[in-house]
């Protein structure tokens, strides 16, 4: 659906995006992550033909963007962080204008359906200047969905929304994806990406440092799994027994609570349970801690920055592992 090849953007002596190879499959929700200034917005603007790449290629819907940007952009719905609306227009006029622009059949009905789904129907005839940030965001989303495009590009779509609005937008995005739409979503709200995206790409300093499913990312980042074990009482013999196990890399004891790091992708909870029981430990509870997307994202960002900064940099010594 979206494919970039060695996509690069340089502004004088600053390289905003470096040799970016993105692959967004049809029908998926692709989360585009990165810290501020990573080059996410520049990438999106290149995908939209707003900013011309310095080099590289963009293919959308199997066609080069340059070959027919006009027709390709008709198939894309876009929501950016700031909506840039016409303040004097009502929502009805605003959406009506874009319906005319995109030649939307049955525009009135479509506008009504969308504004109802987004909870804007009561303010349909109010000037946009009186809208809250969240309502403006929803109106932007309605505009993006108006022509029922097969591809949605969303840049910080829940920015400025309250929890209810955030949930509404999330549900809408998931519903549109269930209807077959491909969604390319850039956000700094990692929990949102975690809840919606099938795959993510992590951009750091203009480079794609990781791309894959969330499970893949976690596996790549964390070759060890952390187990939290709670014993009935502290037991030094139990700790010693765990340290002899070949798949255990580290054991930390804080009273009757143990933190056990185990190697490999296999589930070692049963082995840990047996070893502890054999050493006379009584287990009250045990759980495996999964790396959150936020942990993964921070680990990748730190790792990339460390590599770029070089080995003598202080950041390099504290960087997380990026396989």
């Amino acid at each position: 659906m979206i494919e970039t090849e060695a996509l690069t953007k340089r502004y004088r002596d600053v390289t905003a995006v470096t040799a970016l190879d993105l692959h967004v499959e049809a029908g998926e929700i692709y989360g585009f992550l990165g810290p501020n200034g990573a080059g996410k917005t520049t990438t999106i603007l290149m995908l939209l033909g707003i900013v011309a790449p310095t080099s590289g290629k963009i293919r959308m819907f199997g066609r080069e963007l340059d070959s027919d940007a006009f027709a390709i952009k008709r198939k894309v719905g876009v929501v950016c962080e700031i909506q840039f609306l016409y303040p004097h227009m009502t929502a009805e006029e605003y959406l009506g204008f874009f319906a005319e622009l995109y030649d939307v059949p049955g525009a009135r009905r479509r506008i009504f359906e969308l504004t109802e789904a987004l909870g804007l129907q009561d303010r349909l005839r109010s000037a946009v200047r009186g809208y809250s940030r969240g309502m403006q965001q929803k109106l932007g989303l309605a505009r993006a969905l108006l022509h029922d495009p097969p591809l949605l590009i969303l840049d910080e779509p829940v920015s400025g929304l309250d929890p209810v609005g955030t949930r509404e937008v999330r549900e809408l995005v998931l519903a549109e994806n269930a209807r077959g739409k491909t969604v390319f979503i850039s956000s700094h709200v990692l929990s949102e990406i975690e809840r919606t995206a099938h795959r993510v790409g992590v951009l750091c300093q203009g480079s794609l440092v990781a791309e894959g499913s969330l499970a893949d990312l976690r596996r790549r980042l964390e070759a060890t799994v952390r187990l939290e074990v709670e014993l009935q009482s502290s037991s030094p013999t139990a700790v010693a027994a765990l340290e002899t196990l070949p798949f255990v890399s580290e054991v930390r004891a804080e009273g009757r609570r143990l933190q056990v790091r185990v190697w490999g992708e296999r589930d070692h909870r049963a082995d840990v349970f047996a070893a502890l029981a054999g050493a006379g430990g009584v287990i009250v509870g045990m759980r495996a801690q999964e790396m959150s997307l936020e942990d993964a994202f921070l680990a990748l960002a730190t790792s990339h920055e460390s590599r770029v900064a070089g080995p003598e940099s202080p950041a390099a010594s504290s960087g997380a592992r990026d396989s």
Binding site: V51, A71, I82, F84, F97, E100
Partner: protein
């Protein structure tokens, strides 16, 4: 014959933009203020003609209402140039230009859409202008000749030039303030060249540096006459009054070529300058 689908998409985009822009123009007071100022200026010009009649006992003019017509069309054309000059810069400054370009809009469809809307707005003003001039002629017994109707029609072509001129200036600006400053700056430069040339040409002694300055300004004045949209307005009205067929042809063709060149420049400029806001 197969119609080019890309052209059809561009036409649709231009039509949607023109339609929205025209609604905006008709909704805001600017257009009606401009009409009010133009008609007031025209009525003052009628008064000056009547004063001349009272003083001289006759009017030595082919059409006594030529001056009021010229004054009114200059005001309206200037207003159209100002509105156009602000138009693209305002959208760029507010960020709405960028949002339009996320969708099926390109520089050509956008500029053409804006242009058509401004031209239609000017056309909408021609009817009250014609009615007002006819009323002035009837009330004052100065009459209303067919030449004046031709003059009004030709003023549309002149307005086409001033609108294209305004859009070209607007296409390079990132804010309303910049656009107005540029319009005023260019206007003052054109007036300065014409005024300076006229002043120096009137001097009895033009030796040495003064002579060089006079010649330079005279040359610059000829260029200004060629590029200034207002000179097309004057030539168009003169042609209408003279009833000269060749002058008519030139009066029709030259503004069209001029406007097309300026619009091409504006389209290129939007592409070159980009659609993003200044701070981004």
């Amino acid at each position: 014959m197969t119609r080019d689908p890309r052209l059809a998409l561009r036409v649709r985009a231009a039509r949607a933009i023109a339609s929205r822009e025209l609604r905006e123009l008709l909704r805001t007071p600017d257009l009606y203020v401009a009409l009010g100022v133009a008609l007031t200026a025209a009525s003052l010009a009628v008064r000056s003609v009547l004063a001349e009649v009272a003083q001289e006992g006759l009017v030595a003019r082919a059409s006594p209402l030529y001056l009021p017509l010229f004054v009114a069309t200059v005001v309206l054309a200037f207003s159209a140039a100002t509105t156009s000059a602000v138009s693209i810069a305002r959208e760029r400054e507010s960020g709405t230009l960028e949002v339009l370009f996320y969708g099926p809009v390109d520089a050509a469809s956008y500029v053409v859409g804006k242009y058509v809307a401004q031209l239609l707005a000017y056309l909408a003003l021609c009817a009250p202008l014609a009615i007002s001039l006819a009323t002035y002629g009837w009330v004052t017994n100065l009459g209303f000749s067919a030449d004046l109707l031709t003059g009004i029609a030709l003023s549309v072509l002149a307005a086409a030039c001033t609108i294209a001129f305004g859009l070209l200036l607007s296409s390079v600006c990132g804010s309303i303030r910049d656009a107005i400053l540029l319009l005023v700056g260019v206007g003052l430069l054109l007036l300065g060249v014409q005024g300076g040339s006229w002043l120096l040409a009137g001097l009895p002694q033009r030796e040495g540096a003064l002579g060089v300055a006079a010649e330079t300004l005279a040359a610059a004045d000829r260029v200004v006459t060629l590029v200034s949209p207002y000179s097309y307005l004057d030539r168009g009205l003169q042609a209408a009054l003279l009833g000269d067929a060749a002058a008519y042809a030139i009066a029709f063709a030259s503004p069209l070529i001029y406007a097309a060149l300026l619009l091409g420049g504006a389209i290129w400029s939007v592409e070159w300058r980009g659609v993003r806001r200044n701070e981004e």
